[in-house]
Point group: C2
Chain length 146, copies 2
DNA sequence: TCAAATTAGATTGTGTTCAATTTAATTATA
DNA sequence: TATAATTAAATTGAACACAATCTAATTTGA
């Protein structure tokens, strides 16, 4: 028994480290699939919101994706350059920038539909484990589901 | 019932997204604690390895931390500048760069020891939930524990 | 042996990520 | 109603993160 007060600082006793490492590894696994769509992971999650909602403010995207304007502004400009979204100030409130999906962006959805399943094949978890992981992550995020 | 083949693309049906978001949020929560130590999160996990092992090659750090030399080189140069580590080529193999903790780096360990507990207080999980999350993350990472 | 292959780090380039600041628009209030 | 406070994005600056490439050292094997 060689326990010390410093044991809490051992990498293997940290919860945060596997969280950090796993998130990075999973994003890395997306790369080959997303390359086919000419999307980065950040661009992909923005598109997921817009595939669902057609249009959203930068503020709304940020709240949904846990990202701020410093991250989103260049991502949205890049998506605009590729023709997947349009950006325009709201008529009702000029401060608000509305991001709207284009028909080209809509068309990308059909290509993207196989990505989740292909990625799931790269993750070595049983369905019940994946469901439990999902629940715990949302709880840790402080988001109440249901 | 409005199910479609596109449901898999809904953000709320993704396992990867809460993983990505949660990891970012937790790293963000470390910031105020690590600021006191003049460390970033990446520098902190490097120091955790060195508090345990005193010295390690860049390659070894990369394997342990899931990081490559493109990330580690500037991090290690920064830690060296702060006086927490020394960097020197191995005598046995000049290709290898050995990173060694300094006495100043060792001294930092005493200050860091309160960080894990203070951070745990910011995460809203029961101990058994944290343990299960830990297990699932390492399984997803493909690292076999025990 | 000695040229080819491999390996370890460093460098470069692209793309985040976030804190802090700035600018412009809107809302609140004295 | 002016002025102050607030809000939404954009910008700036520092620090990752990783793929691809480069350089130097070591190891292989013809």
């Amino acid at each position: 028994m060689d326990k010390s007060k410093f044991d809490v600082l051992r990498l293997e006793n940290q919860l945060c480290f596997p969280l950090y490492a796993c998130a990075k590894e999973v994003v890395r696994k997306y790369r080959p699939f997303l390359d086919e769509l000419d999307l980065t992971y950040t661009q992909y999650i923005v598109m997921m919101v817009l595939w669902e909602d057609k249009s959203c403010s930068v503020k709304g995207l940020g709240k949904r994706l846990f990202l701020d304007s410093g991250t989103l502004t260049p991502v949205l400009k890049s998506l605009e350059k590729k023709g997947f979204v349009n950006r325009a100030r709201s008529k009702k409130d000029e401060r608000v920038l509305e991001v709207e999906i284009t028909s080209k962006g809509e068309a990308l959805k059909a290509e993207a539909v196989s990505v989740p399943e292909r990625l799931a094949g790269c993750i070595n978890l049983e369905p019940e484990e994946a469901a439990e992981l999902y629940r715990l992550l949302y709880k840790a995020l402080g988001v109440v589901k249901e």
